[in-house]
Symmetry: C2
Subunit: 152 residues, 2 copies
Amino acid sequence: MRRWGATSIEGEHPVNEKASPRTLAEIASYHAHIYYAGQPERRHAEWLRLRIAERFRVRLGNWRDEPVGPHQQAMYQVSFANELFATLVPWLMLNHGGLSILIHPNTTNPKRDHLIDPIWIGRPLGVNGEVLGDEDEAEEALEVNTEPTLGA
Amino acid sequence: MRRWGATSIEGEHPVNEKASPRTLAEIASYHAHIYYAGQPERRHAEWLRLRIAERFRVRLGNWRDEPVGPHQQAMYQVSFANELFATLVPWLMLNHGGLSILIHPNTTNPKRDHLIDPIWIGRPLGVNGEVLGDEDEAEEALEVNTEPTLGA
Protein backbone atom coordinates (compact mmCIF):
# COMPACT_ATOMS: atom_id res chain seq x y z
CA MET A 1 0.00 0.00 0.00
CA ARG A 2 1.31 3.40 -0.89
CA ARG A 3 2.10 5.85 1.87
CA TRP A 4 -0.22 8.30 0.20
CA GLY A 5 -3.18 6.14 1.22
CA ALA A 6 -2.48 6.85 4.88
CA THR A 7 -2.89 10.60 4.59
CA SER A 8 -6.05 12.58 4.02
CA ILE A 9 -6.94 14.05 0.66
CA GLU A 10 -6.31 17.49 2.15
CA GLY A 11 -2.60 16.77 2.10
CA GLU A 12 -1.43 16.31 5.66
CA HIS A 13 2.18 16.51 6.73
CA PRO A 14 3.97 13.26 5.94
CA VAL A 15 3.55 10.50 8.47
CA ASN A 16 7.20 9.56 8.15
CA GLU A 17 9.53 12.51 8.56
CA LYS A 18 12.50 10.33 7.63
CA ALA A 19 11.09 9.85 4.15
CA SER A 20 13.06 11.03 1.15
CA PRO A 21 11.59 13.98 -0.70
CA ARG A 22 9.82 13.44 -3.98
CA THR A 23 11.93 14.51 -6.94
CA LEU A 24 11.29 16.59 -10.03
CA ALA A 25 11.77 13.48 -12.16
CA GLU A 26 8.14 12.63 -11.34
CA ILE A 27 6.88 15.57 -13.39
CA ALA A 28 6.30 14.77 -17.08
CA SER A 29 4.68 18.13 -17.96
CA TYR A 30 2.28 20.75 -16.61
CA HIS A 31 -1.22 22.02 -17.31
CA ALA A 32 -2.46 25.52 -16.64
CA HIS A 33 -6.24 25.88 -16.46
CA ILE A 34 -7.41 29.44 -17.04
CA TYR A 35 -10.89 29.93 -15.60
CA TYR A 36 -13.44 32.62 -16.35
CA ALA A 37 -17.01 33.45 -15.36
CA GLY A 38 -18.99 36.14 -17.15
CA GLN A 39 -18.11 38.31 -20.12
CA PRO A 40 -15.47 40.60 -18.58
CA GLU A 41 -13.51 37.59 -17.37
CA ARG A 42 -13.94 35.79 -20.69
CA ARG A 43 -12.57 38.85 -22.45
CA HIS A 44 -9.52 38.80 -20.25
CA ALA A 45 -9.15 35.06 -20.89
CA GLU A 46 -9.18 35.90 -24.64
CA TRP A 47 -6.60 38.64 -24.08
CA LEU A 48 -4.38 36.18 -22.19
CA ARG A 49 -4.79 33.43 -24.79
CA LEU A 50 -3.64 35.63 -27.64
CA ARG A 51 -0.65 36.89 -25.70
CA ILE A 52 0.31 33.42 -24.52
CA ALA A 53 0.25 32.27 -28.16
CA GLU A 54 2.53 35.15 -29.15
CA ARG A 55 5.09 34.31 -26.44
CA PHE A 56 5.10 30.61 -25.48
CA ARG A 57 5.46 27.26 -27.26
CA VAL A 58 2.47 25.50 -25.70
CA ARG A 59 -0.66 23.53 -26.59
CA LEU A 60 -3.68 25.78 -26.23
CA GLY A 61 -6.73 23.63 -25.54
CA ASN A 62 -10.27 24.28 -26.71
CA TRP A 63 -12.51 26.82 -25.05
CA ARG A 64 -14.66 24.99 -22.52
CA ASP A 65 -17.57 27.31 -21.83
CA GLU A 66 -19.24 24.58 -19.79
CA PRO A 67 -17.65 22.76 -16.83
CA VAL A 68 -15.84 19.61 -17.97
CA GLY A 69 -14.10 16.79 -16.10
CA PRO A 70 -12.98 17.89 -12.66
CA HIS A 71 -13.42 21.57 -13.48
CA GLN A 72 -16.41 23.36 -11.97
CA GLN A 73 -16.18 26.50 -14.08
CA ALA A 74 -15.55 27.45 -17.71
CA MET A 75 -11.87 27.39 -18.68
CA TYR A 76 -9.30 26.46 -21.26
CA GLN A 77 -6.23 24.32 -20.73
CA VAL A 78 -2.63 25.15 -21.60
CA SER A 79 -0.36 22.08 -21.80
CA PHE A 80 3.32 22.92 -21.51
CA ALA A 81 6.72 21.33 -21.17
CA ASN A 82 8.75 21.52 -17.95
CA GLU A 83 11.25 23.96 -19.47
CA LEU A 84 8.52 26.60 -19.82
CA PHE A 85 7.68 26.63 -16.12
CA ALA A 86 10.20 29.37 -15.27
CA THR A 87 8.77 31.83 -17.80
CA LEU A 88 5.10 30.99 -18.33
CA VAL A 89 4.18 30.67 -14.65
CA PRO A 90 5.65 34.03 -13.54
CA TRP A 91 4.21 35.66 -16.66
CA LEU A 92 0.76 34.38 -15.66
CA MET A 93 1.33 35.71 -12.12
CA LEU A 94 1.90 39.19 -13.53
CA ASN A 95 -0.91 39.08 -16.10
CA HIS A 96 -3.77 36.99 -14.69
CA GLY A 97 -5.86 40.13 -14.21
CA GLY A 98 -7.86 38.59 -11.38
CA LEU A 99 -8.67 35.31 -13.13
CA SER A 100 -8.25 32.06 -11.21
CA ILE A 101 -5.53 29.88 -12.72
CA LEU A 102 -4.79 26.31 -11.62
CA ILE A 103 -1.34 25.00 -12.52
CA HIS A 104 -0.66 21.36 -11.76
CA PRO A 105 2.11 18.90 -12.50
CA ASN A 106 1.40 15.79 -14.52
CA THR A 107 2.73 12.78 -12.62
CA THR A 108 1.34 9.27 -12.32
CA ASN A 109 -1.27 10.48 -9.80
CA PRO A 110 -3.74 12.90 -11.45
CA LYS A 111 -5.90 13.13 -8.33
CA ARG A 112 -3.01 14.26 -6.16
CA ASP A 113 -1.71 16.54 -8.95
CA HIS A 114 -5.01 18.43 -9.10
CA LEU A 115 -6.10 18.42 -5.46
CA ILE A 116 -2.98 18.60 -3.34
CA ASP A 117 0.09 19.57 -5.32
CA PRO A 118 -1.09 22.37 -7.61
CA ILE A 119 -0.42 26.04 -7.39
CA TRP A 120 -3.15 28.61 -7.71
CA ILE A 121 -2.92 32.12 -9.04
CA GLY A 122 -5.93 34.20 -7.97
CA ARG A 123 -8.78 32.73 -5.95
CA PRO A 124 -8.73 28.91 -5.73
CA LEU A 125 -11.84 27.18 -7.06
CA GLY A 126 -13.31 23.78 -6.33
CA VAL A 127 -12.03 20.76 -8.25
CA ASN A 128 -14.02 17.51 -8.44
CA GLY A 129 -11.39 15.01 -7.48
CA GLU A 130 -13.67 11.98 -7.65
CA VAL A 131 -13.47 11.87 -11.45
CA LEU A 132 -9.67 11.66 -11.33
CA GLY A 133 -7.62 8.51 -10.93
CA ASP A 134 -4.76 8.10 -8.50
CA GLU A 135 -2.67 5.88 -10.77
CA ASP A 136 -2.20 6.62 -14.43
CA GLU A 137 0.47 7.16 -17.04
CA ALA A 138 2.08 10.58 -16.59
CA GLU A 139 1.02 12.85 -19.47
CA GLU A 140 3.80 14.37 -21.55
CA ALA A 141 3.34 17.88 -22.92
CA LEU A 142 0.88 17.85 -25.82
CA GLU A 143 1.88 18.88 -29.34
CA VAL A 144 2.59 22.58 -29.57
CA ASN A 145 0.05 24.63 -31.57
CA THR A 146 1.45 28.13 -31.12
CA GLU A 147 4.13 29.96 -33.11
CA PRO A 148 5.50 32.51 -30.70
CA THR A 149 7.48 35.49 -31.97
CA LEU A 150 7.72 37.65 -28.86
CA GLY A 151 9.65 37.41 -25.61
CA ALA A 152 8.09 37.31 -22.16
CA MET B 1 -2.11 58.06 -11.65
CA ARG B 2 -1.21 54.43 -12.20
CA ARG B 3 -3.75 52.15 -13.81
CA TRP B 4 -3.47 49.91 -10.81
CA GLY B 5 -5.26 52.53 -8.73
CA ALA B 6 -8.38 52.04 -10.80
CA THR B 7 -8.78 48.36 -10.03
CA SER B 8 -9.80 46.71 -6.79
CA ILE B 9 -7.31 45.09 -4.48
CA GLU B 10 -8.81 41.73 -5.42
CA GLY B 11 -7.20 42.01 -8.85
CA GLU B 12 -9.89 42.65 -11.41
CA HIS B 13 -9.47 42.04 -15.11
CA PRO B 14 -7.54 44.91 -16.67
CA VAL B 15 -9.59 47.96 -17.57
CA ASN B 16 -7.77 48.36 -20.86
CA GLU B 17 -7.64 45.18 -22.89
CA LYS B 18 -5.33 46.86 -25.41
CA ALA B 19 -2.65 47.20 -22.74
CA SER B 20 0.68 45.46 -23.21
CA PRO B 21 1.36 42.59 -20.87
CA ARG B 22 3.70 43.08 -17.96
CA THR B 23 7.07 41.47 -18.57
CA LEU B 24 9.34 39.22 -16.53
CA ALA B 25 11.89 42.04 -16.37
CA GLU B 26 9.82 43.45 -13.48
CA ILE B 27 10.78 40.53 -11.23
CA ALA B 28 14.01 41.06 -9.27
CA SER B 29 13.70 37.89 -7.14
CA TYR B 30 11.16 35.77 -5.27
CA HIS B 31 10.21 34.94 -1.71
CA ALA B 32 8.62 31.73 -0.54
CA HIS B 33 6.92 31.92 2.88
CA ILE B 34 6.48 28.53 4.48
CA TYR B 35 3.71 28.67 7.10
CA TYR B 36 3.00 26.29 9.96
CA ALA B 37 0.59 26.06 12.87
CA GLY B 38 1.04 23.53 15.65
CA GLN B 39 3.80 21.00 16.25
CA PRO B 40 3.13 18.50 13.45
CA GLU B 41 3.22 21.31 10.90
CA ARG B 42 6.30 22.85 12.48
CA ARG B 43 8.02 19.49 12.25
CA HIS B 44 7.25 19.30 8.55
CA ALA B 45 8.51 22.88 8.16
CA GLU B 46 11.77 21.72 9.79
CA TRP B 47 11.92 18.71 7.48
CA LEU B 48 11.42 20.99 4.46
CA ARG B 49 13.97 23.52 5.66
CA LEU B 50 16.73 20.93 5.98
CA ARG B 51 15.99 19.44 2.60
CA ILE B 52 15.77 22.85 0.92
CA ALA B 53 19.21 23.66 2.37
CA GLU B 54 20.61 20.43 0.97
CA ARG B 55 19.30 21.13 -2.55
CA PHE B 56 18.95 24.85 -3.29
CA ARG B 57 21.16 27.95 -3.18
CA VAL B 58 18.80 30.25 -1.27
CA ARG B 59 18.64 32.55 1.75
CA LEU B 60 16.81 30.79 4.55
CA GLY B 61 15.27 33.39 6.84
CA ASN B 62 14.84 33.13 10.59
CA TRP B 63 12.11 31.09 12.16
CA ARG B 64 9.20 33.43 12.91
CA ASP B 65 7.10 31.60 15.47
CA GLU B 66 4.95 34.72 15.91
CA PRO B 67 3.17 36.55 13.08
CA VAL B 68 5.37 39.30 11.61
CA GLY B 69 4.76 42.02 9.04
CA PRO B 70 1.91 41.09 6.70
CA HIS B 71 1.98 37.45 7.78
CA GLN B 72 -0.84 36.23 10.02
CA GLN B 73 0.72 32.92 10.96
CA ALA B 74 4.14 31.56 11.97
CA MET B 75 6.49 31.01 9.02
CA TYR B 76 9.97 31.35 7.66
CA GLN B 77 11.01 33.07 4.47
CA VAL B 78 13.10 31.68 1.64
CA SER B 79 14.62 34.36 -0.61
CA PHE B 80 15.72 33.06 -4.00
CA ALA B 81 16.97 34.18 -7.38
CA ASN B 82 14.84 34.00 -10.52
CA GLU B 83 16.85 31.11 -11.94
CA LEU B 84 15.71 28.84 -9.10
CA PHE B 85 12.02 29.27 -9.85
CA ALA B 86 11.87 26.29 -12.23
CA THR B 87 13.24 23.84 -9.67
CA LEU B 88 12.39 25.14 -6.20
CA VAL B 89 8.72 25.90 -6.90
CA PRO B 90 7.84 22.48 -8.39
CA TRP B 91 9.87 20.79 -5.64
CA LEU B 92 7.76 22.64 -3.04
CA MET B 93 4.60 21.57 -4.90
CA LEU B 94 5.64 17.92 -4.51
CA ASN B 95 6.85 18.19 -0.93
CA HIS B 96 4.73 20.79 0.91
CA GLY B 97 3.03 18.02 2.88
CA GLY B 98 -0.11 20.09 3.40
CA LEU B 99 1.61 23.28 4.56
CA SER B 100 0.49 26.59 3.09
CA ILE B 101 3.24 28.23 1.04
CA LEU B 102 3.03 31.74 -0.40
CA ILE B 103 5.41 32.47 -3.28
CA HIS B 104 5.50 36.04 -4.53
CA PRO B 105 7.62 38.00 -6.98
CA ASN B 106 9.60 40.98 -5.78
CA THR B 107 8.82 43.93 -8.05
CA THR B 108 8.49 47.63 -7.23
CA ASN B 109 5.01 47.01 -5.77
CA PRO B 110 5.17 44.81 -2.65
CA LYS B 111 1.45 45.18 -1.94
CA ARG B 112 0.48 43.86 -5.34
CA ASP B 113 3.20 41.18 -5.18
CA HIS B 114 1.76 39.76 -1.95
CA LEU B 115 -1.98 40.26 -2.46
CA ILE B 116 -2.68 39.84 -6.15
CA ASP B 117 0.19 38.27 -8.03
CA PRO B 118 1.42 35.47 -5.77
CA ILE B 119 0.96 31.77 -6.13
CA TRP B 120 -0.19 29.58 -3.28
CA ILE B 121 0.62 25.97 -2.63
CA GLY B 122 -1.81 24.45 -0.13
CA ARG B 123 -4.57 26.48 1.48
CA PRO B 124 -4.23 30.26 0.98
CA LEU B 125 -3.99 32.27 4.20
CA GLY B 126 -4.79 35.90 4.93
CA VAL B 127 -2.11 38.53 4.27
CA ASN B 128 -2.26 41.99 5.87
CA GLY B 129 -1.75 44.17 2.85
CA GLU B 130 -2.07 47.47 4.73
CA VAL B 131 1.47 47.20 6.09
CA LEU B 132 2.90 46.88 2.58
CA GLY B 133 3.79 49.74 0.26
CA ASP B 134 2.78 49.97 -3.36
CA GLU B 135 5.98 51.65 -4.53
CA ASP B 136 9.38 50.52 -3.37
CA GLU B 137 12.73 49.37 -4.66
CA ALA B 138 12.49 45.83 -6.02
CA GLU B 139 14.35 43.48 -3.67
CA GLU B 140 17.12 41.41 -5.20
CA ALA B 141 17.70 37.88 -3.90
CA LEU B 142 19.35 37.99 -0.48
CA GLU B 143 22.78 36.53 0.17
CA VAL B 144 22.77 32.75 -0.05
CA ASN B 145 23.28 30.93 3.27
CA THR B 146 22.95 27.31 2.12
CA GLU B 147 25.55 24.96 0.68
CA PRO B 148 23.56 22.46 -1.34
CA THR B 149 25.10 19.14 -2.33
CA LEU B 150 22.05 17.25 -3.65
CA GLY B 151 19.90 17.49 -6.75
CA ALA B 152 16.17 18.13 -6.74
